[in-house]
Symmetry: none
Subunit: 253 residues, 2 copies
DNA sequence: ATTAAAAACTGGTCTGACCAGTGTCCAGTG
DNA sequence: CACTGGACACTGGTCAGACCAGTTTTTAAT
């Protein structure tokens, strides 16, 4: 194996095993090169590898620093090996929505087909909560409504996959409702879509439910696209310097 | 932003957006350096970054190659977040196929819509391998054919999700082809379905491709259901120490 | 035609130089 | 005295050319 890779592994293990804390500065390239008796080039290559892996961040004139490790582990679903796809690639968001469009439609279809009276009760409850809520803070009800429908599909695999996708979205996007609702026309359209979806599921019309749900996701997706064109930042990228405050631990002056 | 990062970004977008297909060779470092008017060093740094991100693989003396998207990263021994769903619930297999039906259809749709000439070449190659193979041992070609189509969709999220589902299936089911092919009528039907799918994708008929792919999965699913009724064991419970070859995706050599 | 050596690729490493940001520290200024 | 400015000593970023080490292709001898 190449030297640069051995070094990148050694450094990564050093970091992950706790030898170096997030935000902490890594020795300079020249120091590492001297210390490990290799050229500066291989050090730089090793560091770039770690950089690509998100383990460190490098700032011109300052040095390289251990990146804050993904704060996962919370009750939410796995951060996933997919996360790296997002870094700097807004397009992936739309890939994601493209898939969601399909699955959300299927969920609606199955829900309309299989929902039991208990499911329907839950869906109704969630729907009313959605209607009664202040548009400004209705991210949670919105989620709850869709979740109720997905669960009514009685397909655990579907539930899991959609849940994963949603978690991935939450990590990259400001909640869509929070972005879209402020615009009155859009808000009204979304409310109508929700109502149509609700009714189709309750009345047991799978084909209609699927169509409405698919259209709903597509609508949201395109709305985001437009907003992006208008300059609003939809994607939230990891920005250097976004890893603040930890430096204070480090520089004793 | 540093030049090396701009380059790595450009290359990655090129790859994800379909300019370069998995397994394909990337121009040599010296060529890239000359073409982009930068030193070889920055090219190497950019490539190391992509390497760290798992986008490419480099082999001494041969060159750098686009990695099969979503190869592993979480691989090796991970039981997987979903595995617990299966324990003692054969039904989940059909839930899984239900979802796959939808996604495989979408993949076919997108592939028919977006496949580049390179994609088409790979698909054709996989298809011919499928036709030329002894039905008894054609689990791999079958997999390769479907994978080629999915990757031609140029939606990394879709690739990842389907790959996850497929891994789950491999852990629970004897490869469907191995079960189904012995029955001559079924084998013929499946071969015809494959051919239809192939032609629809190659001729750029998204709607047809989607329909055929969906029908194909459904057919396999129902065939399994029937076999189960007849007493054949389809489900294979996960056994410790089983964890079969996840590397099934890895290509090029 | 077969085979073995040679040449022409590929990536991997080294060296030493210079450019470009950042922070420090000290002299000269008000 | 406080303050500003600039030299200087860091940091990473880029460049050039050389050579080593695998791989493939071409060539030449059998």
């Amino acid at each position: 194996m190449a030297i640069s890779q051995e070094i990148s592994y050694r450094l990564e293990r050093l970091i992950l095993d706790g030898g170096l804390a997030p935000g902490q500065k890594i020795p300079s390239e020249r120091q590492l090169a001297a210390r490990l008796s290799v050229s500066r080039a291989v050090i730089r290559e090793a560091l770039h590898e770690l950089q690509g892996r998100g383990v460190i961040e490098t700032r011109h004139g300052k040095g390289s620093f251990v990146a804050s490790i993904v704060p996962n582990t919370d009750a939410m679903g796995e951060p996933g090996p997919l996360m790296h796809l997002f870094e700097g690639h807004p397009r992936t968001l739309y890939d994601l929505l493209e898939v969601r469009e399909q699955l959300e439609g299927q969920a609606a279809f199955l829900a309309a087909q299989r929902a039991t009276s208990i499911d329907k009760h839950r869906i109704t409850k969630a729907f009313k909560a959605l209607e009664d809520t202040d548009p400004l803070s209705n991210a949670r009800p919105d989620h709850g409504f869709h979740l109720a429908i997905v669960e009514a599909s009685h397909n655990p695999v579907l539930v899991h996959v959609l849940n994963s996708l949603k978690n991935m979205m939450l990590m990259t996007v400001q909640a869509s409702v929070a972005n879209l609702n402020p615009r009155e026309e859009m808000r009204k359209k979304i409310v109508r879509q929700h109502r149509q979806l609700y009714e189709a599921v309750m009345e047991g019309k799978p084909a209609v439910a699927q169509k409405v749900a698919t259209a709903h996701v597509r609508f949201v997706s395109e709305a985001m696209r437009n907003m992006e064109k208008e300059g609003s930042k939809v994607i939230r990228m990891p920005v250097p310097g976004d890893i603040p405050a930890r430096d204070s631990l480090q520089n004793p002056h």
